[in-house]
């Protein structure tokens, strides 16, 4: 783990990168990292995020400036800009079930090739996928998903990069922190080693590449 400035952290992300961003409707999203992505005008991003949040909030900021060209997510209904950009074919969007979304990312982070899920069998989601029966029940093979970068928001981070999350801001953050080549973290509080008890660490420090120092 390396402690870096906000500017340095985002500078490592090239245009065209795939980025996973934690958060659920903007809750638990690393807002400072997104503000800096906007400021550094990173473009042609492939975004992997549960939803498109709302304009001006969370990953919604990336749609405000048309910085996203492709998105994989589960729901974009509360961001009219993302909807417009999709319907206007400025961006392509793969909408997938939320349980499938998180399992694909988990598989990517845990070295699994994919999982078999009953979700989506017999629906549009099945198109182009392999159906596999196990014990007389039908499942879809959903393959692993990884990204170049994961942008993660923690509640507490210690000096060694151990992370914990608070309340419903945990959501996709710990899963994404395992599924990217480079993991960049901002935290509401950076605290001495030992403040987070071993049993309460949700993301162990060795998973973190960059921890953004607080201002």
């Amino acid at each position: 783990m390396k402690a870096v400035s906000l500017e340095e952290a985002i500078a490592v992300i090239p245009a065209g990168a795939s980025i996973m961003v934690g958060g659920f409707m903007g809750v638990g999203t690393p807002e400072r990292l997104l503000d800096e992505l906007v400021r550094q005008r990173k473009s042609n991003l492939s975004l992997i995020s549960n939803d498109a949040a709302t304009p001006g909030k969370g990953v919604g900021k990336l749609f405000d400036g048309a910085q996203v060209t492709h998105m994989i997510g589960t729901h974009i209904g509360l961001n009219p800009k993302a909807q417009q950009q999709m319907l206007g074919k400025q961006i392509t969007v793969d909408l997938i079930p939320q349980g499938t979304f998180v399992e694909r990312i988990r598989a990517g982070g845990c070295g699994l090739g994919g999982v078999l899920t009953p979700t989506g069998v017999g629906t549009l989601v099945e198109e182009g996928k392999q159906r596999i029966d196990v014990g007389g029940k039908a499942y879809l093979l959903e393959t692993a998903l990884r990204a170049d970068f994961a942008l993660v928001q923690a509640f507490l981070a210690d000096y060694a990069g151990n992370l914990s999350y608070a309340l419903t801001a945990r959501n996709f953050n710990p899963v994404m922190a395992m599924a990217a080549d480079t993991v960049i973290v901002t935290a509401e509080h950076i605290v001495p080693v030992g403040v987070i008890a071993p049993d309460h660490v949700m993301t162990p420090g060795p998973l973190v590449d960059y921890l953004v120092a607080n201002g």
Binding site: V27, G77, Q83, L87, I96, Q98, G99, T168, R170
Partner: protein, 216 residues
């Protein structure tokens, strides 16, 4: 009583002691207001919480404690938080006893469409497909008709949410189940006749000898 209240109150009667319940956005959310006195159930919010409580009092909201719509909620004593993999493990794994969801169409075989109107509304399915595939029991809470058009259809022409049929649909006019894969009228809303239900129901629907009125 308005349509939404009728639906929410009737759905609340389906809650059983100790149930783990997931409520969708819209009418389903209202069900939490009508939990029968003395009945203890757990509400799950799929963004990572069991034990959701009512909207917090003035000044008590926390930005990191919200429902799946991003709106502030409270947590009851004994609440538990978790990540999204766990949340959908609970949902897909059959640990959620009951989910209540909104609907665009329910057909005669109990199939639900509730996430997409091709060419028009493509918000994404969010957690709906997992909930319908995985919850032990699925109830749809919706208006019986929209703009005079039945939402209880012969066959869904909108994309399905799941191949798995739902268990019950509760509307402002009726309660309908699907024993043996066939829509069957169980109850009518107060003051609504069977003929009135049939008049706004596109699906073929079985009418048992005894169809009581909802007791709200």
């Amino acid at each position: 009583m308005d349509a939404q209240t009728i639906i929410a109150r009737r759905v609340a009667q389906e809650l059983r002691p100790g149930n783990l319940v997931n409520l969708g956005i819209g009418i389903p959310t209202l069900v939490a207001n009508y939990v029968p006195a003395g009945l203890h159930v757990y509400f799950q919010s799929e963004n990572g919480l069991i034990g959701t409580g009512p909207i917090p009092e003035q000044g008590m909201a926390h930005p990191l404690l919200t429902d799946a719509g991003g709106k502030p909620i409270s947590a009851l004593p004994g609440a538990a938080t978790f990540d999204s993999a766990m949340s959908f493990g609970l949902i897909r794994g059959g640990h959620v006893d009951l989910t209540v969801l909104g609907g665009l169409q329910v057909d005669a075989g109990g199939h639900l469409a509730n996430w997409m109107i091709p060419g028009k509304m493509v918000p994404g399915m969010g957690g709906a497909m997992d909930l319908v595939s995985g919850a032990k029991r699925v109830i749809v809470a919706m208006q019986h008709a929209a703009k005079g058009k039945s939402k209880i259809v012969a066959r869904c022409n909108l994309p399905l949410t799941s191949a798995r049929p739902i268990d019950l649909v509760v509307t402002d006019m009726a309660v309908i189940a699907f024993p043996g894969g066939h829509a069957t009228l169980l109850e009518t809303a107060p003051g609504v006749s069977i003929a009135e239900v049939l008049a706004v129901t596109e699906a073929e629907i079985a009418i048992p000898d005894d169809v009581p009125e909802m007791k709200l």
